[in-house]
């Protein structure tokens, strides 16, 4: 881990450390509190005022998007410098200054596919968290078969006219802008799709929240009724949106992979430690339930195997090795792991894991089953595990579909 080989990197580390020491507010070094998570955008309330300060300072350096070019508000860091920045942030247990679909998904494809004007217009406001984006991909009839989407986009000379419906649009009611897949040619499937950006405040846009089984309402049905969109908000080629859409999904999945669905809540001890309290131990410290003990060991091994895989890929890709094949399993594995972990948490907590609200349970206990329920979506959102496995079988393993 020592970067002693390269004096400029050593210096970068020292400066970064000093800057963080000075600029990361103390409360931003405490474990993330769910309702203090910063997503940015016009509606962001910054429940904790320190989080505003933290975002402003990080954004001013471009460190919310450390590797994006400085010209678009990014940090302009090299991979190596970014690695150091991330290590230093981790060292002081800093909360992320900004969480955003713009940073994770849209920004990278804009860098790749957008024209200069679009980059200038959209990227800086992603970096500084002024605009929050949502993802308009899925429709009632187009989920796994995303390319079957029907939302119509017509060329009206001086503007596009959008009509249709999206569904499961995460945070559409909180977002300012949407990156949206629309049909610009009805005579073709994949080649009739375009990638369009528009303001959620445009006339004719309506987002209706849908409640999840975990009780929260993070996603919406989103309706477009004669929405007018400026002509220059189409990214890439007309009817060339599918390639961008797929690229964005890669970023979405690799971001999920990096965070493993955020399964390890900061400040929560590993499940096998918590199990001691709920199940009890013998004199030597072994869990009293031998079956649960074995299954928790299995879980701890899966967890370790996953983390090692992510670390292996990071190291190999840094060294310029191709890791695409390994990466293909990561979203599937992350979903499975998080589901197992949250499910076993409920089981380990026993009756204490079965409270919905109110008296008789701690907050952490009440959160356990919500997390278990929410995690069921991990194998659905961002493409289902079945579709994921189909792709691995066909593209990675070269197994051909059986006909007839």
């Amino acid at each position: 881990m020592a970067d002693g080989m390269d004096p400029t990197l050593d210096q970068f580390r020292a400066e970064t450390r000093a800057w963080l020491q000075e600029n990361c507010p103390a409360s931003m070094r405490t474990p993330q509190v769910e309702d203090e998570t910063v997503w940015g955008g016009r509606k962001e309330k910054f429940k904790n005022p320190d989080s505003k300060l933290w975002l402003e300072r990080m954004a001013a350096k471009g460190w919310t998007a450390p590797t994006w070019p400085k010209a678009y508000g990014g940090g302009g860091l090299t991979k190596e410098e970014n690695l150091i920045l991330q290590q230093e942030l981790k060292r002081i247990k800093a909360r992320p200054a900004l969480n955003s679909f713009g940073l994770w998904m849209l920004g990278p494809v804009l860098l790749e596919y957008a024209n200069e004007e679009q980059k200038q217009k959209f990227l800086p406001d992603i970096v500084n968290g002024k605009i929050r984006w949502c993802q308009g991909y899925s429709e009632p009839g187009a989920g796994s078969d995303l390319a079957g989407l029907q939302t119509k986009c017509e060329d009206k000379g001086d503007h596009w006219l959008v009509n249709g419906q999206k569904v499961w649009t995460s945070y559409a009611d909180q977002a300012d802008w949407i990156f949206c897949l629309v049909r610009t040619d009805t005579s073709k499937k994949h080649e009739g799709i375009s990638f369009l950006l528009f303001d959620m405040e445009s006339e004719g846009v309506e987002a209706r929240p849908i409640k999840l089984i975990s009780g929260s309402s993070p996603f919406c049905e989103t309706f477009f009724n004669d929405v007018k969109v400026p002509k220059d908000h189409l990214v890439g080629r007309l009817n060339g949106g599918w390639e961008i859409a797929k690229r964005l999904l890669q970023y979405e999945r690799s971001n999920i992979s990096a965070t493993g669905f955020g399964a390890d809540r900061a400040g929560t001890p590993p499940l096998h430690e918590r199990a001691k309290e709920y199940v009890g131990t013998d004199a030597s410290g072994k869990l009293l339930d031998p079956d649960l003990r074995m299954r928790l060991a299995d879980l701890a091994m899966d967890d370790k195997a996953f983390k090692l895989t992510v670390a292996r890929m990071a190291e190999q890709s840094k060294a310029g090795e191709e890791v695409g094949h390994t990466a293909s399993i990561v979203k599937y594995a992350a979903a499975k792991l998080n589901q197992k972990k949250t499910e076993m948490t409920v089981e380990t907590l026993g009756y204490q894991g079965l409270g919905w609200e109110g008296e008789g349970f701690t907050d952490l206990e009440l959160a356990s089953n919500k997390a278990m329920l929410r995690a069921k979506a991990n194998s659905i959102e961002g493409g289902t595990s079945e579709v994921n496995l189909n792709v691995i079988a066909k593209r990675v393993l070269g197994l051909k579909e059986h006909k007839g």
């Binding site: 089984i213 008296e359 069921k376």
Partner: protein, 378 residues
């Protein structure tokens, strides 16, 4: 015959299915949930009393029909299909068994007729910690003034938030973990020193934590043998386990049917999703598990009616299998529905929530595998 229902049993099964789908449907359950009923639905319970279901296990001399466990299992399975919250399992199966197996004639004649008529409900209070462990009773019952004084706590008592009469396991001697020294007591809800903490639970059925602080119980309200209550408790629990297994079976079958239907209606890539082999196999696997679990539940119910000596084994078998099945099917139900299965508007979430609670009730899969191994002597 163990597996083929008699004509009367079939009639009861059909009556229960009709009643549940008409009066206690999932739509009804959703209304109750939205109204914050926390599992309390006295109007429906009154209608169930009229059907005579609280008396299915009550001897005729005490106002019941003594119809037997196989019959009761049919009603519970039907109830499981619609996730209805009722006192059937805790009162009509568990409470009645406790009295029939352990009660004196005097106790039976005071309590059983009231249960059969639907006038009172009962709740069995055993566990004191996060996991089912019936011998792990620490609550003390000290002999005093010709009766007993109970002090301690009970957690997550099903139906405890409304039951009129508690059947409580407490310790007259020994220490937590010993099977010897446990005694069962009947304690009415309004007894001095009994504090009931109502719980809002994952499945929207509710439950209660109990605190007993010097609760005085007359000797006449001891159920069964003083200090030797564990065998009775375990036998009563086995009835609860088998009943819970029947409910889990019903729940699983209903969730499976809903999924099976969806596989034949939802289209992606221009075809029914049920045409994808990876989903076909998993549907077939669920079906295979359902069929085997049904055999175990039916076998366990029959073992009770036939008074066989392998009831404990059959109870653990049925409860472990049914818990496993419900876990599998409720997960697959959400997964195969995709995004819609994650929404509160869809019923898939209700199934998984109820399943997780009943899976843990009276011991989960792990508990019963361990017990099965012990019962087989290894």
């Amino acid at each position: 015959m163990t597996f083929v229902l008699t004509e009367e049993q079939n009639m009861l099964k059909e009556a229960a299915q009709d009643f549940m789908s008409e009066q206690l449907s999932l739509t009804h359950f959703r209304k109750q949930r939205n109204a914050g009923a926390n599992g309390k639905d006295p109007e429906s319970w009154g209608a169930m009393a009229e059907m005579g279901w609280y008396g299915v296990l009550v001897p005729e001399e005490f106002g019941g029909s003594e119809f037997g466990y196989v019959g009761m299992g049919q009603v519970l399975e039907a109830q499981g299909r619609t996730l209805a919250s009722s006192p059937l399992l805790q009162t009509a199966m568990v409470g009645v068994s406790a009295l029939v197996l352990g009660g004196t004639d005097a106790q039976k004649s005071t309590v059983l007729p009231k249960i059969a008529e639907g006038k009172i409900t009962t709740a069995l209070a055993v566990d004191e910690h996060a996991h089912h462990a019936p011998a792990n009773v620490a609550m003390t019952a000290e002999a005093a003034g010709g009766g007993y004084t109970l002090t301690g706590k009970k957690v997550f008592v099903p139906n405890g938030h409304f039951a009129d009469l508690f059947i409580i396991a407490a310790r007259t001697s020994g220490s937590a973990g010993d099977t010897d020294g446990i005694t069962l007591f009947m304690v009415p809800r309004d007894t001095d020193g009994l504090t009931i903490g109502e719980l809002s639970t994952l499945d929207y059925h509710g439950a209660a934590n109990l605190e007993l602080n010097g609760v005085v119980v007359p000797a006449a309200d001891v159920l069964g043998e003083v200090g030797g209550g564990f065998a009775l408790l375990d036998a009563v629990l086995d009835r609860g386990r088998i009943g819970a297994a029947a409910e889990l079976l019903g729940l699983s079958v209903a969730a499976f049917e809903m999924t099976h239907e969806y596989l034949q209606t939802r289209k992606q890539f221009g075809q029914l999703i049920g045409s994808f082999q990876s989903l076909q196999h998993r549907a077939a696997i669920m079906f295979s598990e359902i069929e085997q679990t049904r055999s175990c539940v039916a076998g366990a119910l029959a073992a009770l009616d036939e008074g066989r000596d392998d009831v404990a084994q059959m109870a653990s078998l049925a409860k472990a299998k049914a818990s496993h099945l419900a876990h599998l099917v409720t997960n697959e139900t959400i997964q195969m529905h995709g995004g819609i299965g994650m929404t509160d508007e869809h019923d898939a979430g209700f199934f998984i929530k109820r399943a997780r609670v009943v899976e843990a009730m009276f011991g989960g899969e792990g508990f019963h595998k361990e017990r099965y191994a012990s019962l087989l002597g290894f």
